[in-house]
Symmetry: C2
Subunit: 370 residues, 2 copies
């Protein structure tokens, strides 16, 4: 409950773990005394930058649906707790995306994706807080047409309509980047158009099928979830967008493939000339593989970092090994960890996991889901 005053026990548990794991931070006891007093006086407390960075990394480590956790220590944590106005927040969102996509500095390569989190002001008990309405910082609009069909991403239809109600006008194309809707207690909701340099995109081609390029498919390079609440030691950060790099199947086996998303499998199958008269020709399976080959190949071709589900499965098993050596069990949700294609062909399929809810962590609140 983000309205309640911080539970000191939760703060203490986190701080003991944090100072236990980071001997350079010194003794935890004086810090605990300060935090206890802060909570008594204000209902909450303020993390030091070290605590924040450690907490965000451990929140990633505890994300039981994430297969990409091997590199949890490498998360870049941007402390944005002083941002207040929508303009400030938006400028820092743009900085986040440029840094994540490698388009921020002259000495970095566009496409050298880095895992980044931007942590905006924490919630104050009982007070309204800033948030972003978008589910991801970069997503494509979906427009329902008169025949009931959808141009763009069907998942975004409702969100796109609310953007229109707020005055946004999209081009009406299949891959229109949505505006970022930032709501603050003082300014209400404001829409911002992402600049081109913040939105690295990859046009999709296939290593063998020349016709594939003509489908006009593309996808953005940086998956940045913006509707989850980060919780560290009892403190809630309702606005803390984070990104990794893509695993190909997220694009090729879900976003572009799901029947209630871009639904490209039948189109690809038709172009491949497959016999779609009955399911047992496995035309869906064949088209799905080619769609996914196109995704991985296209990203690689233009030098944008992406991973495949076989590699990521091996890495996740390596992560489990590392964690075991550190005396920790990896909480994991089988149905999210096992990739949505060729499940049985990946190592992560052939075992069970414990699905425990460890803190710090990321949470999707009911109102963010809406």
């Amino acid at each position: 409950d983000p309205d309640a005053s911080v539970d000191f026990a939760e703060a203490e548990e986190f701080l003991r773990m944090c100072y236990g794991d980071n001997s350079k931070l010194g003794s935890v006891e004086p810090r605990l005394a300060v935090v206890r007093a802060q909570i008594a006086a204000t209902g909450t407390y303020v993390h030091t930058p070290d605590e924040l960075a450690y907490g965000a990394r451990v929140a990633w480590r505890n994300s039981s649906r994430c297969i990409g956790r091997l590199y949890w220590r490498s998360l870049v944590v941007l402390d944005r707790r002083r941002a207040r106005t929508p303009e400030e927040i938006f400028a820092l969102i743009v900085r986040h995306l440029c840094m994540a996509g490698g388009t921020a500095a002259a000495n970095r390569e566009p496409g050298a994706i880095r895992p980044v989190i931007s942590v905006f002001p924490q919630a104050q008990p009982g007070r309204p807080y800033a948030r972003i309405w978008n589910e991801q910082l970069i997503r494509y609009a979906g427009y329902r047409d008169v025949n009931g069909g959808v141009t763009g991403d069907p998942r975004a239809v409702r969100f796109t309509e609310s953007m229109r109600d707020l005055g946004w006008r999209g081009k009406g194309d299949a891959f229109d980047v949505l505006p970022v809707a930032i709501e603050t207690p003082a300014h209400g909701v404001r829409l911002f158009e992402l600049p081109e340099r913040a939105v690295l995109e990859v046009p999709l081609v296939h290593p063998e099928y020349a016709w594939f390029a003509e489908l006009g498919l593309r996808w953005h390079a940086v998956p940045a979830i913006s509707n989850m609440r980060l919780t560290i030691g009892g403190v809630h950060y309702p606005l803390a967008p984070f990104n990794g790099w893509y695993m190909g199947t997220e694009i090729g086996a879900r976003n572009l493939a799901d029947p209630d998303r871009y639904n490209m499998v039948p189109v690809v199958a038709k172009m491949m000339g497959l016999d779609t008269s009955k399911p047992r020709t496995l035309w869906r399976d064949r088209a799905l593989v080619e769609l996914n080959r196109a995704v991985l190949w296209s990203f690689e071709r233009v030098g944008v970092k992406i991973t495949d589900h076989h590699t990521e499965s091996d890495r996740f098993l390596a992560h489990i090994g590392n964690e075991a050596k550190a005396g920790r069990e990896v909480p994991a949700d089988w149905s999210w960890i096992v990739p949505p294609m060729s499940g049985g062909a990946t190592g992560v399929f052939h075992r069970y996991y414990r699905e425990s809810d460890e803190r710090p962590n990321f949470y999707l609140d009911a109102d963010a889901r809406a």
Copy 2:
């Protein structure tokens, strides 16, 4: 606990459900009185043939790992509770396989697979009982060679060794059907060789790749699980082998594909000439699809009933709809229901299930697992 006396409450719950669903059986009250007296006198009770058939069908309906439950009412229940000697049991196992495979009668077609269960004597509290050591009635042997490699099914290596210790000699080929090991309290364990007519098999060919036939792959037509205990109304049937027809992925995406089974994916990929230098060419995924096409195509070609994972996913969702109309929720285990390939391309992927343990049901005991 199969040693304990039957819990009357469990018997009553089952009988009320059974008589409630089958009005032709009349009132349950007199039956309950009889059962209560039987349990008091003997520690257990005896099902009528109607109760047995209904209980076995509902056990299938309650099998939360089974995607094939749409046809639960059609299960053929063979009452084999009078069989005592290993010879009797084996003869009835052969009858089961012939009936299941459509090779039993002149007027049926070989390959017209039917779901069948043979129910052998129930366990008597505290007394030893007959069982079959095999995990399935038909499985292939696995032989470890001097280099540590395996000919045949690696999963069967330990079982094959124990068969050898008991005097069995296999041909040493990749697809040697194992003997059936039947243990009874009075006769110890005895091995029986299945006759040819009980073992319908399908040689695997590919609809396009002529070289596929030369891999010499084959698989049996009837998957008949023989190590699970059937529990109905507190009564345990430790020997109750049952079969359905295959879903292609069980053979093409697990038995022939898993690295610790026949591990054919790299072989097929090599024959296809795929670039296996890195995982992101998705050579595993492509070879896996072709292996599965071969399975489905080969069975269809020779008229042996088999289903594909797309069709079976749709049927399972239909089953959920039927059950909802009957006021029942379908217990299901996501990680078993979602097929091991193209998971996201099937409807069953895109929802959650309740994983409850309803009775009657099938259970895998620890000693059967060994």
